[in-house]
Symmetry: C2
Subunit: 396 residues, 2 copies
């Protein structure tokens, strides 16, 4: 892994560096890796049942079409023990069952079996033809840095909160953060289109506050409002984003629906898209969902719960998520990892040590809790991140 | 439960029959019931942290706005032990944080905490003002029965599969099922818009086959194609559904995105909508997600894994799911439970005994596996279900 034409993420010892199996004379299959709870005895039957569940959903003996039996039915590619009661099962899915539909990709990978508690989806390998059907990030790490005038250093992000504030209050906060030198100022993901801060009024006010601060400081801070709702509401929000010259957007793909997120990136939004993991808890491994799949669908940056905060991800999970978001993968640009969730300024050196500088550090409440000292705390955050870059790359 | 103006589901002993707490002089809160893993010691702090996580996502001490502190912050309503290491925590969420946005409802209920493995969302009580913001089923049980000419008996459903067949092959199957007297003939949920059976060609062919069979038999069978994809693709599919006079649709709300499903029901689709649970595995209790929430958003029928099939739901889970889908709830019509997943004709009497006649029985592979005997097996299914109704209500 990765598949596709890129140089591949062939780091020695990676659990992802197997080459996908090729079918001579046929298209290569989508390889879906599942961890299944259960002993070796009966696992071949369990894997075969999963292959039917995830493809034709009926007994193989009742299939009369040769095309369906030879091409459409998912195949058990391999079964490997992970322990006495846990096995890795790799299925080969037919690319024709997916097409270019993000919802259908997820349906084939984890539609029905998301309802089977013994199954986790842990990784996916896509043949080049399938990989090429998605755009991936349009900006990626380099595009974000260029837009933010950030050289090769790590980037900073914060959040406007709490929800319940009026547009003018959120805008004042946004201006303060921009003046302090934050790179990206996003809405809290809970800020939607509520009556206390309607989308158009809020986005106009916050965008103007950030632009005004940039004007004063010479900075290039970007405001990223949360997009939410169904297609009609989104279309109106996209219109506001364009009209106001907003520089990025935040979206929760699992709340919007993955096909909606896919269409936003393909057709509606030109600016960088930041993905938020809300509603994303499932039996899909976080590195796969938030690192690989969100990147495939076009997230330029992916927010996830850092270890040691309010969530329970392990350091290994976080490292793997960041790795797959950034690693070479076909022609896809890297998606920038954004560890977050209860982070504080004093953790900046440790986080930069852990993730390196190809990262956006997101601190929200940890800045807001400074109260009257908020501008100073924000500046401290900015300085701590800028100080980490090679001297010649520090922005003055 | 339920809240709202309806007669309520006040069955004695139900775990759902508590009255929601009212706030004199204020709107009533959305009550979200969580099961949290952990001992009594520390549970008050865990519940308080969850209340912040699901509302303002920042330390309470850093909040300066009185409105936010008094109204927007979620409140811990009660904590009850369920065992030494498990507690029920009920949070009160402010309705203003949700508005009429289905995605935002899920975000407030289970956005960030879906990423916290110690938390399950098990039930929700909605105040009348929030309940009234959603349409619920436009047809419901009575509307479906009227459309199908079915009196008060149980209903039958089957699925066109496997994916990979061409439109003409699927249409032949659809015609056979309609002639046998099936009530609803749906696409397999894996049938999307693949090249081997593009949506427009498939839907036209299947609809015509069902209409022709109805013409011959005097039946009222309905074909329900699967809707899939992003908003642009869906708009095109909705156009085909309207033009061809299709009588129902199938949708996977968790794949489409809940706000998309919401908009489909509110604005795009007039015919009954059948919800499929694909991609719905999560730490939301199945009765809540597939019974209550899909109903709230307008599912006229909700498909779920029956006990004793290919999935692991218990009889208790299935009974509870069917109960909340049907029970009085404000002004919402009942949503018809559709137990499925590896069902066979010989289970019909047992299933009718378990669910009663306010149900749609769905058998897919169990009919297809009959091979050349498919018409006879389908007829056997139809007869078994019709025979269950009171004699005067059997359709001749």
């Amino acid at each position: 892994m990765p598949t596709g034409s890129g140089p591949g993420g062939a780091r020695a010892g990676s659990r992802l560096d197997q080459e996908p199996r090729r079918y001579p004379g046929r298209v290569t299959r989508i390889l879906a890796h599942y961890d299944i709870a259960g002993p070796a005895d009966g696992m071949a039957e369990r894997a075969a049942a999963l292959a039917l569940e995830q493809s034709i959903e009926m007994p193989l003996g009742a299939v009369t079409s040769g095309y369906v039996r030879d091409e459409v039915v998912a195949r058990v590619e391999r079964i490997e023990p992970l322990g006495p009661d846990r096995h890795r099962v790799v299925l080969g899915l037919a690319p024709a069952t997916v097409g270019r539909d993000a919802g259908q990709l997820l349906n084939m990978l984890f539609g029905n079996c998301s309802l089977q508690a013994d199954v986790e989806l842990v990784d996916v390998e896509l043949p080049p033809e399938v990989l090429a059907a998605w755009p991936g990030p349009r900006h990626g790490l380099d595009g974000l840095r260029a837009r933010l005038g950030a050289g090769r250093r790590a980037l900073t992000m914060t959040a406007l909160k709490p929800q319940g504030l009026a547009p003018a209050e959120l805008a004042a906060l946004a201006g303060t953060f921009a003046a302090a030198g934050l790179d990206v100022i996003k809405d809290d993901h809970g800020i939607a289109d509520q009556t206390y801060a309607p989308f158009a009024a809020r986005v106009t006010a916050c965008q103007q506050a950030v632009a005004a601060a940039n004007e004063r400081t010479g900075g290039q801070a970007v405001y990223a409002p949360t997009l939410s709702g169904g297609p009609r509401q989104l279309a109106e929000q996209v219109r506001v984003v364009r009209e106001e010259g907003v520089g990025a957007v935040l979206a929760c793909p699992m709340l919007l629906g993955l096909p909606v997120f896919d269409e936003l990136v393909r057709h509606e939004i030109d600016v960088p898209v930041l993905a938020h993991p809300a509603f994303g808890g499932s039996r899909i491994a976080p590195p796969l969902l938030f690192g690989r799949l969100f990147r495939l669908l076009g997230a330029d940056a992916t927010i996830f719960p850092n270890h040691g905060g309010r969530f329970s991800y392990s350091p290994a999970t976080c490292a793997e998520l960041a790795r797959v978001a950034l690693e070479p993968w076909g022609d896809l640009r890297p998606c920038v990892p954004v560890p977050a969730g209860g982070m504080t300024v004093d953790r900046v050196p440790e986080m930069l040590g852990f993730y390196g500088t190809d990262v956006i550090l997101l601190i929200g409440g940890g800045l807001l809790s400074a109260g009257a000292e908020l501008p100073a705390r924000a500046r401290e955050f900015v300085d701590a991140v800028r100080g980490s870059a090679p001297a010649e790359e520090v922005r003055v």
